[in-house]
Subunit: 384 residues, 2 copies
DNA sequence: TTGAAAGCGTTACCAG
DNA sequence: CTGGTAACGCTTTCAA
């Protein structure tokens, strides 16, 4: 039955970055075929004018009712509401937005479509916040060149923007601020005057992690950090966690052992090996990286080092991902969904005119899972 | 400095479903404060009329140029383009959409905001497809009641919809079809006449997995499936993988061992234990579930059964998630990002009038990772 | 090749 | 309390 309709056989499509697929395309001679009638694409959108006519009132009155304005006779309201329900009216989004001058939409600028199991939660959180407030939610994944950002603002597609992957000095931030276009950040700049944000407190998070490890008896604790160019660019999380680490080590009289790596499994594995070559007496690793930290597990396994008996590991990561690790990965918890939600909520509050600027910096939560333990006293150079 | 600006101290907010946070809110007296000038919210949107005036042509001409219509003198086009560049014009999205009658936007209806590490990839894929075609991308996470779906269609917010989590008989599908509103599916119904979809071939996927395990020597292979109510509702993936499994077992003369469980760690763990209680001679488990399959790992670990030496495990899962498992989880690969991308691409093609209906059912790919191996011949009741 | 003008479906102001 | 009517910024005939 289905086979009979095969029009042209087997085509080849280079799939994105994964395997190649066999694609069967079933052609349908337009309008012919079994099944449902050609279907007159339900063409006439029921408009406010239709309602007005049917209810024998003016369009202004209908509009007032739709917008819950006070000055309408209760009796009229009833009658019109009935008609609306009967005819099944929904305002035309674009007409409404054009006339009203507001979109009732927010957008999340998602830097790149690179998968991470982590930042995806930002999306769902922000989308939920939008839907809770009856706002539409745009996800924008194209690279935001200066020109495109300008176009986005001018297009009036959205009333406000959520920015993420913030750098200490971020051109997008300066630009939007100068323009007076509403936005909030997931992350923060060096100077956040007048801008709402929610951010992970990387300094304190790292400090807490290191302090906890020290309490367990560790003295040689390394940070899997970022390459120099990331610091030079002033990427907030990188700079702040490095600073927090260096400072905590200084305070506690520990050596600061930094290993640079980009957020890929290959680089993390290499960095881990280098770390262990240079510091065979290492007993703990703190990772700035999220689910990529699996590469650390693999590297340790390759060297026959056990987690946590030989080396403890802790990272910034979401709950969902941390629990897939074996042993489960201890974490400075990254509640990304909540971050997204709060960002959305703040932005909408701002759009609705609550003049308050919010700076949300939740205190980091350590989640102790089985990847950390006291160091083995029996190891060479182990802690006292 | 920052401390000096603290207005009201420490507030309490019940965060979504995670811990409670300390939220510091810095109030700002509106308009005062250091930093940037009050900023005259760049109020006047540069319109097509402005361009027309500046270039001494009519708005129609400008419009034609913007839409790349052929009938414009090259000299005029140049001049107007220059003015556009100088004045920094971007069309007002809503005005354009209202007048043109098309949104150049697609929407993904994402059933619920429940996290899964898996279906998130659909989002990014679809968003990428949209952005590649210069379409805007809406993510809609609110539950789509019949009423809301109708409203969405009527609102003209979007030109088309991507549906997911499809049931064999799906009211949303019938509704949209009847309405003639453009849509595509990630998943498929029992009858897909005239509707484009991309779907995982669950039957074949399961068949391949079982066949492979049999080739390795397994004879007792269980399927971690879904509870009865899921089948009763006709949830496609559940029904199809069960059918594929039962049929393959029948063909190969194997016993069909089904264990029902919803997609939660608790239920999967329980199901696994029950399975092993009843079938101590089990040597392999196929899981319909994605990253939740970690619960199977934990249950096996709790019983001191090793993967893959004692029990092999394979599941439908994305690459990214599978590799976080230890040992890495063998999979019927679920290229969710690609699915999302293809769905977006198909929908846009459909909107742009390529009359073709596409049915994409990629042949499933087995990815052999370390969670499967031949059964131990030494186990009691092991295969011959 | 160009311009004038009529919508697109709302909102919002201003009279009555 | 209600009804005209002018925007909102763009597209699209229809004439010139």
């Amino acid at each position: 039955m289905r086979a009979a309709r095969l029009k042209y056989g087997v085509a080849f499509t280079p799939s994105l970055d994964i395997a190649c697929w066999i694609i069967k395309i079933f052609g349908i001679v337009a309008g012919s075929d079994t099944g449902h009638k050609p279907m007159a694409t339900s063409t006439h959108h029921v408009t406010i004018a239709d309602i007005a006519r049917a209810a024998s009132v003016s369009v202004s009155t209908v509009s007032r009712i739709l917008n819950n304005k006070p000055d309408v006779a209760e009796e009229t309201r009833q009658r019109v509401q009935t008609v609306i329900a009967e005819l099944g009216f929904t305002p035309h989004a674009h007409a409404q937005r054009l006339a009203a001058g507001r979109s009732r939409a927010i957008a999340l600028l998602f830097p790149d479509a690179q998968l991470s199991l982590m930042r995806e939660e930002f999306i769902l959180g922000a989308a939920k916040a939008a839907s809770d407030a009856s706002y539409a939610f745009y996800l924008i994944t194209s690279a935001p060149s200066r020109h495109q950002l300008a176009a986005l603002c001018r297009s009036a597609l959205t009333d406000g923007i959520i920015l993420m992957e913030i750098h200490l000095r971020d051109w997008r931030v300066s630009y939007l601020k100068r323009l007076g276009f509403p936005f909030v950040m997931i992350g923060r700049c060096a100077n956040n005057n007048g801008i709402s944000f929610i951010d992970m407190d990387f300094e304190r998070g790292i400090a807490q992690a290191v302090e906890h490890l020290v309490k367990l008896g560790h003295r040689k604790i390394a940070l899997l950090a970022s390459p120099d160019d990331v610091y030079e660019r002033g990427y907030g999380p990188a700079v702040r966690s490095r600073d927090g680490y260096v400072q905590t080590c200084a305070q506690l009289g520990l050596p600061a052992i930094l290993a640079p790596a980009n957020d890929t499994q290959a680089e993390l594995a290499e960095a881990t090996h280098m770390l262990l070559d240079r510091h065979p007496d290492l007993t703990a690793i703190v990772s700035m990286h999220g689910d990529t930290t699996i590469a650390v597990y693999r590297a340790l396994e390759a060297r026959n080092l056990r987690i946590p008996e030989d080396v403890s590991v802790i990272a910034f990561i979401t709950r969902r991902a941390a629990e897939l690790f074996t042993p489960p990965l201890a974490a400075i918890d990254f509640p990304a969904y909540d971050f997204g939600y709060q960002a959305g909520r703040m932005l909408i509050a701002q759009l609705q005119g609550s003049g308050n600027v919010e700076h949300i910096l939740p205190s980091p939560q350590l989640i102790l899972r089985r990847s950390i333990a006291p160091p083995r006293t029996s190891r060479p150079n182990g802690s006292a």
